[in-house]
Symmetry: C2
Subunit: 320 residues, 2 copies
């Protein structure tokens, strides 16, 4: 038995649920419900780029899956299964065990069993590739191109904390252990609203997950839907940990900070109460932050009664 | 527009076929036929481990998908779609263009459209992650555990050439440009029998693709099916380019050489003619190389009328 099989057998062979053929054959197999399409997405996480070398491996296991579940939520899709590939410079069983625990805990919670993958030794840093698969009725899928003029623009959760934590860890802000303690969870243990996302299917119009910064991500909806937006900054759900920080810093974290893994979506004004009820049922904060306009471009009103300022798209760029 | 989006837009955004939602949303979407299960597999290719840094990028694009299509073929599944993630140390548009051409050419041929993926800058070498998705009727899927005592054991194509090419390129064999020219295609441009694999669904019993060496891979079938096998070495389809080489070298290349991406499968003796007809229709060489036995273990008869020799599993290990 070679090390690849031993590594998979030791850490990544927890049994798949009934009806699934999981790890151990050439392919994994599972059913997709009648009337649904398969929804799939994949994300790479690279050491030194998407995570620090000394990150808690359990948090990394969690986040590797979370960033992918976030894409299913943004499509309104129900998670069905995931694949995990790891390229590792060496085999550290303690690290792998903690990584697997973090990964499986979220997979169990989201009913998204790990059914296959690949492992290989890398020549340098860790590379993690996760693919998620889910199902959604195609006519209910939340496409970026589906925003309508007059739609409310919503975001789930709060904004800004992950970006502040990242800046602290990168030493781009002066050391502040209290602030780091209050923001680090948002960066390292994001919890995308995958159940709420499924509930939005058939109700919301356009949606995406905030991964590169709200302004940049919302820009993708506006471009695909050929419309514009007006945002009301005073309504933004700024993370409470950011209270007391410099206003410009907060604004930058909230508008351009990445790694949020919450949803930004648009819906008819008439569906406001259904959306609030859906969020209440999921114990999730949702906030209406603006409106879709026929006039192209992204504009923001900084304070109540203030002027609209045109906002250029800036965001967290994974390839710059 | 950031570089990630530009890179995807420039090289990896060829339109998906009607019925697919491809690159550009949070998830890709496509249908799975009624009565079928989704079959999925993923493989990582790491520079310096699975390919040489100076490999022809078009060949690498082709092979990245081929090794994954091989897994679908080994399950009897029809390709539906694929995802491609690239971690790159830098952006070389000529390299990417050739890589994309090789990838898309095979994707088109196998009707396996590229519908999503991810790109990121790596801190060191190239890492390629491909996920394929296909469909198969679950009761017809070719599982490793389905071999029956008395089954014929078959292989598609020929054996040994890829391993000899690899040894020449690794300078583990004395330089021999003629031999390299005759074997290199097998290593760099493998053509898994994906159409033939679909035809085997419902006919063959167990199957897998030969990626780590025939003896080791067949061992997985024997273990999963709790049986043994007797092989007839004289019947083996040795690649013609290996004629005249040392007998022990050939034997090692044929039994333990990896990177073959042909199928090894078992089927009832009574289905011999159906299998031959299926292979003829696909212009594919298939060879009966032995039989499944109740007695466990893998035994091989070196020459006609010779004794059976017990064969320990040795193979190409991606993690040693």
């Amino acid at each position: 038995m070679n090390i690849e099989f031993d590594l998979i057998a030791r850490h990544f062979s927890r049994p798949a649920p009934p009806g699934y053929l999981g790890v151990g054959d050439d392919c994994a197999l599972f059913a997709v419900a009648t009337g649904h399409h398969l929804a799939t997405s994949t994300d790479l996480l690279v050491e030194g780029r998407h995570f620090f070398s000394n990150v808690d491996p359990a948090a990394l296991g969690h986040k590797s899956l979370a960033v992918n579940l976030s894409d299913l939520a943004a499509m309104g899709a129900q998670p069905l299964a995931c694949l995990l590939s790891l390229s590792l410079p060496d085999v550290n069983h303690d690290w792998l065990s903690a990584f697997a625990d973090g990964f499986y805990a979220l997979a169990d919670e989201a009913c998204c069993p790990l059914i296959g993958g690949d492992t290989t030794r890398s020549t340098s840093g860790i590379v993690i590739s996760v693919t998620v698969m889910g199902q959604v009725r195609p006519e209910q899928a939340l496409r970026r191109s589906a925003a309508c003029v007059g739609d409310d623009i919503w975001v789930t959760g709060t904004l800004g904390a992950a970006d502040i934590a990242l800046r602290l860890l990168q030493k781009k802000l002066p050391a502040d252990p209290t602030l780091l303690a209050a923001t680090r969870q948002a960066l390292e243990w994001p919890v995308p609203p995958w159940r709420f996302g499924q509930g939005l299917a058939g109700i919301a119009h356009a949606a995406l997950d905030v991964s590169d910064g709200l302004a940049q991500d919302l820009g993708h909806i506006l471009e695909a839907s050929r419309c514009g937006a007006e945002l009301d900054y005073a309504a933004f759900p700024v993370a409470s940990a950011l209270q007391g920080l410099d206003g410009q810093l907060v604004q930058s974290a909230v508008l351009s900070g990445g790694d949020v893994y919450q949803l930004c979506f648009t819906a008819a004004v008439s569906d406001k109460q259904r959306i609030q009820a859906l969020a209440d049922a999921a114990s999730l904060q949702v906030t209406r932050i603006g409106q879709i306009t026929a006039e192209p471009g992204l504009r923001i009103r900084a304070g109540a009664g203030g002027d609209l300022i045109s906002l250029s798209r800036t965001g967290f760029d994974h390839f710059s």
